[in-house]
Subunit: 380 residues, 2 copies
């Protein structure tokens, strides 16, 4: 069983600070996990990830299965070794990507048949197959196969999807118990709670998974278009049910505001492409809100992207230089913006964690929301 | 006058090892200068350039004049400050780019009128204007305005071009003497020898420039399509004429082979986009020749790009990982390949310099040419 210790629970909210132990090191929660879908966090180099204190990064089973493929990963000693990443990793099962990217997908009780969006090849992913692939990839934390329904969807569809996902989760669990890691370290399996924004379906899904006893519990199927309040409500309901002594992971979330709200509701782990994707589109996250660095007002601006940031970009380069790099289309702009945005997200989590430990989480959260909101209004 | 000391002249060839002093530090020659056309060496970050021992980098006057423009550069304290580069810089005048990129260009005795390839705006660059712009950019070494004729061109055209370029060079020199640096360090002006592959025109151009007494002398108008032997012959003829106590810079050159041959003929400085441009196209320079990292033979290859290379890429990543990054189109592939290729070029220069100092330049050159050629044959 995954070693997860709660160091502190906030007295006024459900926020928690914990320690999650893996064979590749300790993860201090709450934590933001940069997304390295295909074995690279886009435009950021591995030593830069270490520098900004990325504690754990993601890979994606669907993408890695296709390229480079499990044969390469097995031969190169697994994903850690292949990409030279010494710290913990987590792989999503790729359920979401199969449904959003692949063609001609067909869901059955047995699994999902799909055509690759890369080469058109047919594949059939069963729960057993996913565990086999995740063993070959070799992340420290691996996820069960799930179906992530779109938003909005009929209640009936979601109810059936919860049943399907639960059946798959049980088979993933069994397959996990009946197999061993391929490399010299442990792997842990997380279940994924589904159920859309229906609290009763969420509850049913969570209870079933808890019965099966997973190393940790993810909340999936949110941040797919529903209003933020619905996401918070569903998250809050699920964390009320989940066991205190297991980590909770809210998948694919989110904005800095989302992170503050979800930590308050008892979530420990997050991943999102937003810092890198938005960074590549010149959207810069700062403690005073978001800025578009291509804006003409930064033409002569000698100040760093975020004066309160400790990242390499902010310590060495001006807004004027970043604006220039984006204007002329230099790759360095993507690199420096992605690095900064990731550091902003990671730093936000570090500050939340410290605030929890120092009994001032609510104050910290209110202060951050006010600062970020203020800037937004200034720009409007 | 630029402080340039020759530490060693090879007894058997014209190869030299020198020290070039600028207010931003010392440059050990022979030297390869990475090209940072628009204020960034493509896909490589400034601290990485320091790490691979890039001693001096280039900027381009034509490009920087257009974006970010001299107003920004003046306000941000010049190009060094704007891009956070602490070491020496050199700006090309942009003569080559005006002729190759801009539209509706019109050459007159007074200068060159052209339409920007970015926004279509009309500009008139006179020699005086170029010096003014290069003062505002603020590189340590700046180049005169020249015309770089295409290859092949009629002898008459080249003869007239040499006259035009010489007239411009004299006006640049005068304008340089009648102006001052804008920032708190010295700038030095290099003349550019033209004349195509005609040795008598090269000689005339060189003699005229020597009379005008420049801080250093560039050899321009080569590596534009002529056979390598023609380039070596013209280079050799010019370095026979140029004063021993001034640095010689062969513009836009070249392949590792070109560098070995030109150093043997007495050249001290080089610049070329090849390491970064080819790197972005998956072409990797190694001590055993060039490899295309997308090739299927590297699919399972755990070895570094070049086992004898000391760069961060080679110390941390496998050929299999680089191949994967290029196959899936990850930006990190461009970063790691560019970093390695630049280090290969810089390391080659460092090794040549050491060989000159240790009286074994000819042996080193022959050994390197043989190794690089061997690999080429293997791949065929």
């Amino acid at each position: 069983m995954l070693d997860f210790k709660l160091l502190k629970r906030d007295a006024r909210t459900k926020a928690r600070a914990g320690l999650l132990q893996t064979d590749h090191g300790t993860v201090r929660t709450p934590v933001f996990m940069p997304v390295g879908t295909r074995g690279s966090v886009k435009a950021v180099e591995q030593r830069e990830l270490l520098e900004i204190n990325a504690q754990i990064i993601l890979g994606n089973t669907y993408h890695l299965f296709q390229r480079p493929g499990v044969e390469v990963l097995r031969n190169l000693g697994g994903l850690h070794s292949f990409i030279s990443w010494p710290r913990p990793m987590l792989t999503d099962s790729g359920g979401f990507q199969i449904l959003s990217l692949s063609e001609l997908r067909k869901l059955t009780k047995d699994g999902v048949e799909f055509r690759s969006h890369i080469d058109g090849a047919y594949h059939f992913f069963t729960p057993e197959k996913i565990i086999e692939v995740e063993r070959q990839i070799g992340a420290d934390i691996i996820m069960v196969l799930d179906e992530c329904p779109p938003y909005p969807a009929e209640r009936d569809y979601i109810a059936k999807s919860v049943e399907l996902t639960h059946g798959w989760a049980m088979r993933c669990k069994e397959s996990f118990l009946n197999s061993n890691p391929l490399y010299n370290y442990n792997q842990y399996l997380f279940g994924i709670v589904q159920g859309g924004t229906h609290l009763d379906l969420r509850e049913k899904s969570a209870m079933q998974l808890i019965d099966a006893d997973f190393d940790g519990y993810a909340i999936g199927g949110l941040a797919v278009g529903e209003p933020a309040e619905e996401m918070y409500r569903a998250t809050n309901h699920v964390t009320d049910i989940l066991p205190e002594d297991r980590p909770r992971y809210l998948m694919g979330v989110g904005t800095p505001e989302n992170l503050l709200e979800a930590v308050e509701r008892g979530v420990d782990m997050f991943d999102c492409v937003m810092p890198t994707r938005n960074g590549r589109n010149a959207q810069i996250f700062t403690s005073n809100g978001v800025l578009n660095i291509k804006n003409a007002i930064y033409k002569f601006d000698e100040s760093p992207l975020d004066p309160s940031c400790d990242c390499h970009t902010c310590k060495n380069y001006s807004r004027a230089y970043l604006r220039h790099l984006f204007n002329v289309g230099e790759i360095l702009g993507l690199q420096l913006a992605s690095l900064h945005n990731l550091r902003f997200f990671i730093s936000l989590m570090e500050q939340m964690r410290l605030a929890i430990i120092e009994d001032r989480f609510v104050e910290y959260k209110e202060e951050m929301l006010a600062k970020m909101d203020k800037k937004k209004k200034e720009e409007i």
